[in-house]
């Protein structure tokens, strides 16, 4: 069955797809977005259930698709040294449903890593190109924060003041102050006061289990209502099988399964892929045809290569003083004291230190770092740790490497028979050196702040930030899309999401994903005479 030909079809209703759809729809473009998952009503969020922490281990509302196994999830095969526990939400709003709302920006130097530091490739755009779209995205999303951070270019006024540091944040600030290091209140996509029809945060915590209050700006409560009012069409439980091509080599549209498994085709003048750093290369590689036997936009074999995430170490301090018991909140502050390259440190590039508030009762007992001992001393130790701990996560820049990649698995498929992605990754020596430096720095801060005990279990963890697998660039032999996210090979195919990142930087990527998507939308719109 074929629907009417759309101007633009967007695959994926997450941070990128939502922003791009809104922008195009608000310009009067006929946009259809296909999302393999569904809406999740706020009352359904795990955060509304008293056993929300169980979702970290099992249940169908958690962070890990491998644990949830919802029909709309797809399996992810992992190889290499990890990460093995991929995190994403497949539904309207994408992983913003589960995110914690950290909203930093890339630094100007992040776009010029080759020129400045002699590594990787420069982005084909500069900070200045993206700045107006960062501002626009901030306005649409609603960002709490305060301007004046000496580690970043000055930003436009924030929608609301920062979230309070809270007792745990204030304790960590003591450490930074004692050391004389940089720190700053985080920009968060969480309103601290009522704004734009949404209520301000009430500090109930559990942000990453879904915010029923809607103070947290997930794309299902920010962009989607506006996009739908603007005339965009959103089809849920519509899982794209492949992007289809016309005999002239241009993209014709997409074929997709509905929830019953019936195949449909949606024709379009332009197709935009917004499926995240794992889903996007999977979609392109799965779209094989006579004209594109190795997958779409993959003539140079670049699709899926240069997979990056943000490797992390988590260092936790236990303090004598009581902290807030409103757990799993956003992060109140961060440090970029070691963000810019200093060759004396023995590695290039740098990292952010991100402060995390205390965990929930079960998680504290299970142990973010080490389990609370069982037996006679259990209650005493639980009392020492619960609402007395604060963590610092090291967020390392991960440089792009050819061998870290997303491919199609030759055996495993999703429930509709579309091949599963296989992710092969190992952290480089530079990344490991950087993480160790960061873990030492985090320990220093916590000790200076007066922590009674510091836990550092040495485990390399990973943020759920998947990037680089359909990267932007000027050279078609080394990149997948150009500076406007247009495929080098297929004129009416665009890709924008984490996979577009030329380098990972050392900050959460979502504010940049949103800004890139808004900019890409304007690029698509300005080329509308070429659509055909």
């Amino acid at each position: 069955m074929r629907a009417e030909r759309a101007d633009v079809v967007v695959i994926g209703a997450g941070a990128a797809g939502a922003a791009l759809t809104w922008r195009l729809a608000s310009r009067g473009i006929a946009v259809v977005c296909l999302e393999q998952g569904d809406w999740l009503r706020p009352s359904q969020f795990a955060s509304e259930q008293t056993n929300y922490e169980v979702q970290l281990r099992r249940g169908n509302l958690g962070l890990f698709p491998a644990v949830r196994r919802r029909p709309e999830d797809y399996p992810i095969v992992t190889a290499g040294a990890g990460p093995t526990d991929m995190v994403m939400w497949n539904g309207v709003g994408g992983s913003t449903v589960h995110w914690e709302g950290h909203f930093p920006r890339l630094h100007p130097s992040d776009f010029r890593v080759h020129r400045l530091d002699g590594v990787a490739d420069d982005w084909p755009i500069a900070y200045a190109d993206l700045e107006p779209f960062y501002d626009l995205n901030d306005r649409n999303v609603g960002v709490s924060g305060v301007t004046g951070d000496p580690a970043n270019p000055r930003r436009s006024p924030r929608a609301t003041p920062p979230l309070p540091l809270g007792p745990s944040g204030a304790a960590v600030v003591r450490g930074f102050e004692k050391l004389g290091w940089h720190w700053w209140p985080s920009d968060n996509a969480i309103l601290s006061r009522d704004h734009d029809g949404r209520p301000g945060c009430d500090n109930r915590g559990r942000c990453n289990f879904g915010c029923a209050l809607r103070a947290k700006a997930s794309a299902d409560v920010t962009y989607w209502p506006k996009a739908l009012r603007g005339g965009a069409k959103l089809l849920t439980r519509a899982r794209v099988k492949e992007i289809t091509v016309a005999p002239d080599g241009r993209v014709r549209g997409v074929s997709y399964f509905d929830a019953r498994g019936t195949i449909h085709e949606q024709l379009a003048k332009v197709v935009v892929v917004c499926c995240n750093g794992i889903g996007t290369p999977r979609m392109l590689l799965a779209s094989k045809s006579r004209l594109y036997p190795d997958g779409l936009a993959n003539g140079a074999g670049m699709v899926g290569r240069h997979f990056m995430n943000h490797p992390s170490r988590y260092v936790e301090g236990i303090f004598d003083e009581p902290f807030e018991a409103a757990t799993y909140g956003s992060n109140p502050l961060f440090s970029q004291h070691f963000y810019e390259t200093d060759s004396a440190r023995g590695f290039v590039r740098g990292y952010s230190l991100v402060v995390y508030r205390p965990g929930g009762p079960a998680s504290v007992a299970w142990g973010d770092s080490e389990p609370v001992p069982w037996g006679k001393g259990h209650h005493e130790e639980m009392r020492r740790r619960f609402a007395h701990s604060v963590g610092i996560a090291v967020m390392a820049e991960d440089l792009p490497e050819d061998v870290n990649r997303v491919e199609l698995d030759d055996k495993v498929t999703d429930s509709n028979g579309v091949p599963a992605p296989r992710v092969t990754y190992r952290a480089s020596d530079n990344t490991k050196a950087l993480l160790q430096h960061g873990a030492n720095a985090a320990r220093q801060v916590l000790e200076a702040a007066g922590a009674r005990t510091v836990f550092d279990n040495g485990r390399v963890m990973n943020f759920a930030h998947y990037m680089g697998t359909a990267r932007m660039g000027t050279d078609p032999r080394r990149s997948v899309v150009n500076d406007w996210h247009q495929s080098h090979e297929v004129q009416n195919l665009f890709v924008v999401d984490g996979s577009s990142f030329t380098t990972s930087a050392a900050v959460n990527p979502t504010s940049t994903i949103g800004a890139l998507a808004l900019r890409a939308a304007d690029g698509i719109w300005s080329r509308r005479q070429e659509w055909g």
Binding site: S47, A365, A387
Partner: protein
């Protein structure tokens, strides 16, 4: 001093009450075939009664774990292995001997022990009746439930005076 503050935070009601329904206390085994007496005794060794805290059994841990095992076959296997290693007479052992048996299990089969320990922790700490004793409150729903404290800019005094730390690049 801080210790005292901490204790004050936690000491509220000192009476130990039975929390939630402790069901099927007489049944020998739950739906997953786990020995109820062994499970209950092991749970109370893992989380015994404290000064102001009830033991695992008072939070209904054994029943919780049985229901969990009935839904999760892989976990059920771990629990079965753990309980088998503790032995059929475990619940009748004197307490020091029970603790020793658990320590042996922890040393010899950590995956099975950790599964049991974590399940006891889960049963106990996801039980809302335990939360007031930890000072934990749970607020939910689509409406604002409390006012957010204002951000205090005073701590920024030093850091906002730092020289520019980022590199320009056009």
């Amino acid at each position: 001093m801080s210790d005292e503050i901490t204790r004050r935070t936690f000491i509220g009601t000192t009476a130990i009450v039975v929390l939630g329904p402790v069901v099927d206390a007489q049944r020998a085994a739950g739906p997953a075939g786990l020995d109820r007496k062994t499970l209950t005794a092991a749970g109370d060794c893992i989380i015994p009664a404290g000064e102001t805290m009830p033991p695992a059994s008072a939070a209904g841990a054994a029943g919780y774990i049985e229901r969990l095992a009935a839904r999760e076959p892989e976990l059920a296997q771990q629990f079965s292995r753990a309980l088998a290693a503790l032995g059929a007479g475990f619940s009748g052992f004197p307490e020091p001997q029970q603790v020793e048996a658990l320590r042996t299990l922890e040393r010899t089969d950590l995956p099975a022990f950790a599964a049991l320990r974590d399940a006891v922790y889960e049963a106990y700490y996801t039980n809302p009746a335990i939360w007031p004793r930890l000072g934990y409150t749970f607020r939910k729903g689509p409406k604002k439930t409390a006012a957010l404290a204002s951000f205090d800019p005073a701590p920024l005094a030093r850091v906002q005076q730092l020289p520019k730390m980022y590199r320009d690049a056009d």
